[in-house]
Amino acid sequence: MTAVSSNLPRADLQYTSDGRLRHLLTIEHLSPETLTRILDTAEGFIDFGHREIKKVPLLRGKTVVNLFFEDSTRTRTTFEIAAKRLSADVINLNAKRLSTSKGETVLDTVRNLEAMHTDLFVVRDSQSGSAYLIAQHVPEHVSIINAGDGRHAHPTQAMLDVFTIRQHRPDFHKLSVAIVGDILHSRVARSQIHALNILGVPDIRVVAPRTLLPTEVERLGVRACTDMREGLEDVDVVMMLRLQRERMQGSLIASEQEYFNLYGLTQEKLACAKPDALVMHPGPINRGLEIASDVADGEHSVILSQVTNGIAVRMSVMAILMGGKQRPEQ
């Protein structure tokens, strides 16, 4: 079991020398101003669904490649819609990696795509650090968005989560937030924790059985709880994680039924939280495993707004990364 990895992206790779955001690889090391700017810009893209023409010309003539080494129809689709609403040309590549000489294969693929004048790569891989590796090797005008790498980071998911929270609870400095589920394997949880900390949330709790908590998880700036009721007590937001069954081998949990009994979000457990608490989930939901159906579809749930907001937030990130690349003329 590894502790919190800190050998992955460094701050200097994500920003240009003059402080412009160039890649989004991880939430870690980003400034509160950068996060707020992503959220504010996303606000402007929110009402797009109501327009006659759901497109703006910002990325006209730019090429975005969705480079997915790991399957994810949902995430890929929202990135694709986001890029298309910004008028970019989008290419989707399901580049299932070869099992040998992984690094070389990834970089060779990227070099080939670069030769076709790609401006932005959206990268997803089951291996931590892939987006970082690619970002180290692309020319200056090319940007990378990490759409999930191994157990490491999923920054746009965390940004759409905090965006959804802000829609309902504008002041981060007053919030109590619980993140519940498989913290150990979850890149979503890691990115959420960084985002909440950077935005000034004073009370962040992670709730899971001991076997699904990273060692020294407190060093991320959270309080660990193994008891669901204690973890949810008076929180404003409950962020559930997806329990990935394929990762539950080797006795990490006793049984799915016992897991649901102890950590599944039910109306009864939710009653420990504030009466108007928000319930979130990054999807897809395992009904009856990490969350009861009546909670997932209930009045506290903002799960479907998360999906809608995902498009606006990804548009925002793309617009910020791709804009302002030339120095002002004057």
């Binding site: 504010d40 006659e52 910020i320 690349k325």
Partner: protein
């Protein structure tokens, strides 16, 4: 070049008179963020508009996006009604190069097909770079290329002229 100091009350008065002349078209009043929206808010009641006004943010349509990036303060565009076949009065604080107006018209056309667009500018200054002319003007101002005029607000509106930093 021009010593006249823009007087906000005079400008609002002149705009108001101009707007009253087009009221019979029952146009929709739309202000461009931020200055144009401030002016439109002031003029909405006084010029006799009854329908809720709209606002436009042109950040996503600017032609200098590649050069300077996205405006850090994006605001939401809000058009309260369907603009198809409607006359629109588009309000901006300063008409200078014409690029803002160009971008604003593009935004409008992504919402629908207006019947006509009437351009109202608080200040019309020299320096046009596109073939765009205003229909209603609060004040004409001639400035040197290094001079810059800006509307401040929103509590107390005022136009101020300054020298651009070298």
């Amino acid at each position: 070049m021009n010593d006249a100091k823009p007087d906000i009350d005079e400008i609002l008065g002149t705009l108001e008179a101009g707007l009253r002349e087009v009221l019979e078209l029952r146009p929709l009043l739309v202000g461009i963020h931020t200055g144009g929206a401030w002016l439109a808010e002031r003029l909405h009641g006084s010029a006799g508009f009854t329908e809720e006004m709209g606002t436009l943010d042109i950040s996503f349509y600017r032609d200098d996006f590649t050069r300077i990036g996205i405006n850090p303060q994006v605001r939401t565009s809000h058009l309260p009604v369907d603009i198809d076949n409607r006359h629109i009065v588009l309000v901006d604080d300063v008409l200078h190069t014409g690029r803002t107006t160009r971008a604003a018209m593009n935004v409008l056309f992504d919402y629908g097909r207006p019947r006509s667009i009437i351009l109202a500018a608080g200040i019309e200054r020299n320096g046009r770079e596109l073939p765009i002319q205003p229909d209603i003007v609060g004040m004409h101002l001639r400035l040197t290329p290094s001079q810059h005029v800006k509307l401040t607000g929103p509590e107390e509106l005022a136009f101020t002229i300054s020298e651009k930093k070298p």
